[in-house]
């Protein structure tokens, strides 16, 4: 049927089916700026403006839009001949404020702002938050998007916008406190705490507070805000994501998943499905080679176990792979799935790791060809023991031993862009895989044996990625999609539904953590023992290394002469956890910080003081580093830079920590059911995997003095392309826009292990630094010899797109470029470099939480999360603070409300974004960020990592604050109202049951 409508001011007639979603019709018509993240009305990525109102295009039929007027992101500042790249003021504000990370939610957020500002030119912060509330952003924590909308509203009203002052060269700059002394701590300028609304004109200056500790080299590009190199295309909603491409003859893949938690496939009949017109392939375990592999995207050789095959005759969890289909439309593919008849032989299933280890429990991996399982009969994937000193002796010597058990649950990454890939044969009969992946190079290497092609015949392209957070450090569907291309010869696109993202992709490992801490009355530690039982779900990816990180992190922040880590990693019939930002650290640090606070209190110490006595300082050895590498022996490490003490002091000042001792603050007689609390935690992480992670970069000079920078590092929304460009620009004496970054494509860019383990700034950044240094030398050499006729290049510098001699002569870079390419000793000025480090310098953080507990309902309302982070030098303070804000909010979800829940048969109950609750813009607390900058000698320009550290402190700080508020210690996440209420009941807090 035909639907007539106006899209972005132009008349359109769309031929649609009666049941077709408006979302699909619009994307089919080429409006790729309309995204999708759930198709059930929850995420808002598909927002459009329909007759002046913001609506989801996935909960209405295309037919319902007949006669309507629609605006999509493409309509805001349409690219026209002669006017490409112009921007709507809202788009400009999102770019300027650093409000765009992965950019997947950005078109919808910008449209939400557009709809708001049309009706309300002076919105308050609360109104802005409410207007953005329907568009979930998993990256930003909403701080900068809200700031962007307030800013553009002010600009449109003709008011000056103070948040970003212009420096003379036109780049926005954030206010910097001067080097050295700490600035006076004060409330953040215009962020009101609860109660009064800010006046609409007051734009919050939410720029991170930067504190510069030691002196550092004077830099021009690095350590300053820079506009993200990909911001414009993302703000304009250009077709840059994996799915924004339709190839001729492309088929649509779909995955049949298991309804059974544990079963053998007795028979599987695909005849009917194959017979359905439009179906081109149906694959089951009978159709693909049985090659055993591990799906985690990790360095060669992948850590054991190898316990997966592309398709198997046995299913091990509800949501496990059963069959794959390729058909001419998604609808036909889905219909074909329904026609596949599977007869299952159900097997007993087990969902609890403690039960799974028992004698007689169902054996989940009984296949003979699995490799590297510690004891398959007992479902024991790994049994790990690492000791430093003698823990029993240390405990025996202690004045006090504190033993506690903590439990952490399973949560999901919830990147808004689902897992998606497109595979096809190119003209050279090579398999091209365009995939939303964090690990293109690992994927190429891991895919080759599964599809039985040599690595050289595979090319993996990573376009822009709509968030990953570790979920895409995994080969979850590239192999199936490739098999479908192999089977049909056609391009195939395959995507997980949101439900499959929950039930068939990866998540964070649940654990039971038991600590035994020995301490003396003087507040020193004698021993720490950590025993973890980890739930591995049905398959092993990342099981070894996540748990190693848990053990390492759980035994590293504090000095103790005796340490031990024991761990059992156990299979259960649940969707397999994998990598999730923070890896094994959030689990361990929740328990570690909690047990240290409990120990301090048991000894009669102030928890901050107790922790301070014991935490690692500059010069200290990280004792477990040698024993615990990435699932193997590691390398000796020392702390060479630490701003932890500063983080604690700065954070405490901003958090008004002294209120902790004010009974009047904690209890408000007007609201007798409310208790207030302040909590605290510290955290330590690493920067890359020592002795393993490698990143590489190539830089070449172009005729006009610009440079191509190609990196294997995979920017998944974090801004890594931008900070890598900044590093190159700094070395080469040019502004960031002179660096044209491309990442990543296994054919075109050098290797990088991928985006994980907090490694990109530190590892890939150092590779860029080295390559740029080399190019710089080549430029100077050429200029010295041919243009200055000066034999001594030693004292020459690059600055302002010029090569300078010490006596003030200069030539512009484009002249060097033209000369070297065309005129004398013709050659390409270019260099490549790679970097690996035996160190993994720790970033630190101090996290403060302020909250209210409603003791009658158990509701915990977190009002303020103050975080101070030592990430070394912040290469780009805007992207760095954006990482922190987004990470803190993900961590708050982990703490309060995100949880994968199952029924008795192992069926996931939280399969959509309504039952699995991710924070929206109007639900997040105030979140000041302080960057306490140290100078890490081994990092590029002194930088360490920032990506994962914000994930660690929130849960223990909230637990600490709840304890402060109520006197009740919560040792199991998440702190849902009911769980809190129950614990308060058990503790018989006065007033609880009234």
């Amino acid at each position: 049927m035909d639907v007539h409508l106006t899209i972005n001011g132009e008349a359109w007639t769309l031929d649609v089916r009666a049941g077709e979603l408006l979302l699909h019709a619009l994307r089919r018509a080429g409006f790729y700026g309309v995204k999708h993240g759930c198709e059930t009305g929850e995420c808002g990525a598909c927002a459009i403006i329909l007759n002046h109102r913001l609506v989801n295009s996935c909960t209405m039929l295309a037919a319902q839009a007949d006669g309507a007027s629609i605006i999509t992101i493409e309509g805001l500042a349409p690219d026209r001949p002669g006017a490409r790249g112009w921007l709507d003021p809202i788009q400009q504000a999102f770019i300027d404020c650093g409000a765009i990370q992965c950019g997947y939610c950005t078109p919808a957020q910008i449209l939400a702002a557009k709809a708001l500002l049309r009706e309300n030119s002076s919105p308050t912060e609360r109104e802005v938050r409410e207007a953005l509330a329907g568009v979930i952003c998993r990256c930003t924590g909403y701080v900068k998007p809200v700031q962007a909308v307030l800013r553009v509203a002010a600009l449109l009203r003709g008011e000056p916008a103070p948040a970003f002052d212009e420096t003379d060269d036109g780049t926005p700059a954030l206010p910097f406190p001067s080097t050295g002394d700490l600035p006076e701590a004060e409330e953040p300028p215009a962020f009101t705490s609860s109660g009064a609304e800010p006046t609409p004109t007051a734009i919050r200056v939410d720029a991170p507070r930067l504190i510069l500790a030691p002196p550092r080299p004077d830099t021009r590009v690095v350590n300053r805000p820079a506009i993200k190199v990909d911001a414009v295309k993302l703000a304009k909603g250009r077709p840059v994501f994996t799915d924004d491409l339709t190839l001729p003859g492309m088929l649509y893949g779909a995955l049949l998943t298991s309804p059974q938690a544990h079963a053998r496939i007795r028979t599987i009949d695909t005849a009917q499905a194959r017979a359905l017109p439009g179906v081109h392939a149906v694959l089951t375990y009978q159709d693909v080679p049985r090659v055993i592999y591990a799906s985690g995207g990790q360095s060669y050789p992948n850590p054991p176990p190898y316990d997966q095959v592309s398709l198997d005759s046995k299913v091990r969890h509800v949501g496990d792979r059963v069959a794959a289909v390729a058909a001419e439309s998604p609808e036909i593919a889905e219909e074909a799935l329904g026609l596949i008849q599977v007869e299952y032989e159900p097997l007993p299933a087990v969902f609890d790791p403690l039960e799974a280890m028992q004698e007689g429990a169902p054996v989940i991996h009984d296949e003979p060809d699995a490799v590297g399982i510690h004891d398959a009969e007992r479902n024991l994937v790994h049994d790990l023991h690492v000791a430093y000193g003698d823990v029993e002796q240390g405990l025996a010597e202690a004045d006090l031993v504190v033993e506690r058990e903590y439990r952490v649950h399973q949560v999901q990454q919830v990147h808004i862009e689902p897992h998606v890939c497109i595979t096809w044969w190119d003209e050279d009969d090579r398999l091209v895989v365009r995939s939303s992946t964090q690990v293109p190079f690992h994927t190429r290497r891991m895919l080759a044996p599964l599809v039985q092609l040599p690595i050289r015949r595979i090319r993996v392209i990573k376009p822009r990625i709509g968030g990953g957070f570790g979920g895409k450090q995994e080969m979850v569907l590239e192999d199936l999609c490739a098999h479908l291309t192999l089977a049909t010869g056609r391009p195939v696109r395959m995507e997980y539904t949101r439900e499959q993202s929950f039930a068939s992709a990866r998540s964070r490992h649940p654990q039971i953590l038991r600590y035994r801490v020995g301490a003396n009355k003087d507040g020193t530690l004698t021993a720490v023992h950590l025993h973890i039982i980890a739930d591995k779900g049905a398959y092993g990816p990342h099981g070894l290394t996540v748990q190693f990180v848990s053990g390492f992190r759980g035994l590293s922040t504090y000095r103790a002469p005796h340490l031990r880590f024991d761990c059992q990693v156990v299979y259960t019939n649940k969707p397999a956890p994998g990598a999730y930002r923070g890896y094994g650290a959030p689990q361990a640090l929740f328990a570690l910080e909690s047990v240290m606070e409990e120990t301090a209190l048991a000894l009669g110490f102030d928890p901050v003081e107790f922790k301070r006595r014991n935490w690692l300082r500059e010069g200290d050895e990280i004792t477990m580093a040698k024993a615990m590498g990435e699932g193997r022996e590691g390398f000796q490490q020392f702390v060479r830079s630490s701003g932890l003490e500063q983080c604690v002091q700065q954070g405490a000042a901003i958090a008004n920590w002294e209120r902790r001792y004010d009974p009047n603050w904690r209890f408000d007689p007007a609201r007798p059911h409310i208790r207030r609390g302040l909590g605290f935690a510290v955290a330590m992480h690493g920067s890359g995997i020592a002795g393993l992670d490698m990143g590489a970069a190539s830089i070449k000079l172009n005729d006009d003095g610009s440079f191509n920078l190609t990196v294997g590092a995979t920017d998944l929304g974090t801004g890594s392309d931008t900070i890598l460009a900044q590093i190159a620009a700094e070395v080469l004496g040019v502004p960031t826009e002179d660096i044209l970054v491309y990442s990543s494509d296994t054919d075109l860019t050098p290797f990088d292990k991928g985006a994980y383990a907090s490694s990109t700034t530190y590892i890939s950044g150092n590779a860029v630094f080295k390559a740029a240094q080399e190019v710089r030398q080549q430029i100077i050499q050429h200029a010295a010899r041919h243009l200055f006729l000066d034999p001594d290049p030693q004292q020459m510098t690059l600055e302002g797109r010029q090569v300078w001699t010490h006596d003030g002569r200069s030539v512009p870079l484009d002249q060097v470029a033209l000369h070297s390419l065309h005129q004398a000793t013709q050659h390409q000025i270019m260099a490549s470099a790679s970097h690996m480090s035996y160190e993994s310098p720790p970033p630190f953080s101090a996290q403060f939480a302020e909250l209210e507990v409603d003791i009658q309902t158990g509701q915990v309302t977190v009002q303020r999360l103050v975080i101070a982070v030592d990430c070394g030098t912040a290469i780009n303070p805007v992207t760095a603070s954006g990482q922190v804000e987004g990470g803190v909010i993900q961590a708050l979800g982990y703490t309060l409300c995100e949880e994968m829940a199952y029924d008795h048969a192992g069926r996931l109950l939280t399969t959509d974004l309504r039952s699995y609750r991710v924070f929206a813009a109007d639900e997040v607390p105030e979140m000041p960020v302080i960057l306490v900058q140290t100078y890490e000698p081994s990092g590029p320009y002194g930088a360490k990592a920032v990506g994962e550290i914000p994930k660690h402190g929130v849960a223990p700080a909230v637990a600490s604050a709840i304890f402060h508020a109520t006197g009740v210690r919560l040792r199991a996440l998440p702190f849902t109202p009911e769980r809190v209420w129950q614990r308060l009941q058990e503790a018989q807090i006065p007033g609880v049951s009234s």
Binding site: G19, G41, G44, A133, T857, Q863, T910, E923, P977, E978
Partner: protein, 292 residues
């Protein structure tokens, strides 16, 4: 599986009613926020989708004859923006403000919410305390049903397949009456949606309760009224004691099921707390009203 559908876009009210009468498998679709999601999940009963959005009969908010009357196609966003709703149906205004998010509110209609009849449907508790009635129209005629009788169970109502819900109405509140609504949900850093409640108390000049309404959502297979709790207040002044007793009775009226979010015991518990707080707030409002 996604079977293909037929679609209808009747231009007139009569056409719409005729289509419903002629074909048993016609599904009216208003905002589509339930229907489209249900269709994708393969849960739809019919195969012909009839867009009723454009029918003028379903739109408009007006106050006449001592009643507020709103069209069944009124969106939640329209409710939220309407001064008449804020003035005459404050609990409904509050429910609209707590409803989903702005995008969903721009599509979701009150008719869809009532006909879909989820136990957690947010417009039920406020409309129940307002004594709302729904107007059901088919080729055979028009009938009005009190909302309490309209809703039967999970996704079940008295609506016959050939009927459209044309409007919802309720009497203007008498003087010295106050009502409030609260949804216990994920807001401002708290955790997930649990239940909702609305209360309304009418009083005489002496401040004694002449009528009380207490309605609860998400605590039973259908939104419910807590009749015993209401009764316990009639003839009484609102005091800590009477409020506490009524709240307890309201808690006992719950017939919740355990689910992912919370156990039955907890829902009952918070229902009691929420009702107590709402009654306390209503009492305050009435007293302030009396002073003014």
């Amino acid at each position: 599986m996604l079977p293909d559908y037929d679609s209808l876009a009747p231009a007139t009210w009569a056409e719409a009613l005729a289509a419903l009468a002629a074909q048993p498998d016609v599904v009216p679709i208003a905002g589509g926020t339930n229907v489209v999601v249900g269709m994708r999940a393969g849960e739809l009963r019919g195969r012909t989708l009839m867009d009723i959005n454009r029918l003028p009969e379903l739109h408009g908010i007006r106050v006449s004859d001592g009643h507020v009357v709103i069209g069944g196609g009124t969106t939640v966003a329209e409710l939220l923006a309407s001064p008449a709703i804020t003035e005459h149906a404050y609990p409904l205004h509050q429910a609209a403000a707590a409803f989903a998010n702005p995008l969903v509110r721009n599509r979701a209609t009150i008719g869809g919410n009532l006909v879909d009849a989820s136990p957690a449907a947010d417009t039920y508790p406020p409309l129940l305390v307002l004594d709302a009635e729904v107007e059901l129209v088919s080729l055979h005629g028009v009938r009005w049903l009190p909302l309490d009788q309209f809703v039967l169970g999970v996704n079940q109502t008295e609506r016959r397949p050939e009927e459209l819900l044309r409007s919802v109405r309720w009497p203007l509140a008498p003087e010295r009456s106050a009502g409030l609504h609260h949804k216990l949900a994920l807001r401002k850093g708290t955790a997930c949606s649990v239940m909702s409640a609305a209360v309304r108390v009418d009083t005489d000049q002496l401040g004694r309760c002449t009528a009380a309404r207490i309605a609860l959502g998400a605590v039973a297979p259908r939104p419910i009224r807590a009749h015993e709790a209401e009764q316990s207040l009639v003839g009484e002044s609102l005091t800590e004691v009477t409020i506490r007793r009524a709240a307890q009775l309201a808690g006992q009226a719950c017939r919740p099921i355990d689910d992912v979010r919370s156990s039955a015991a907890y829902r009952r518990r918070v229902a009691e707390v929420v009702v107590r707080r709402l009654l306390t707030a209503v009492d305050l409002e009435l007293k302030e009203g009396a002073q003014a």
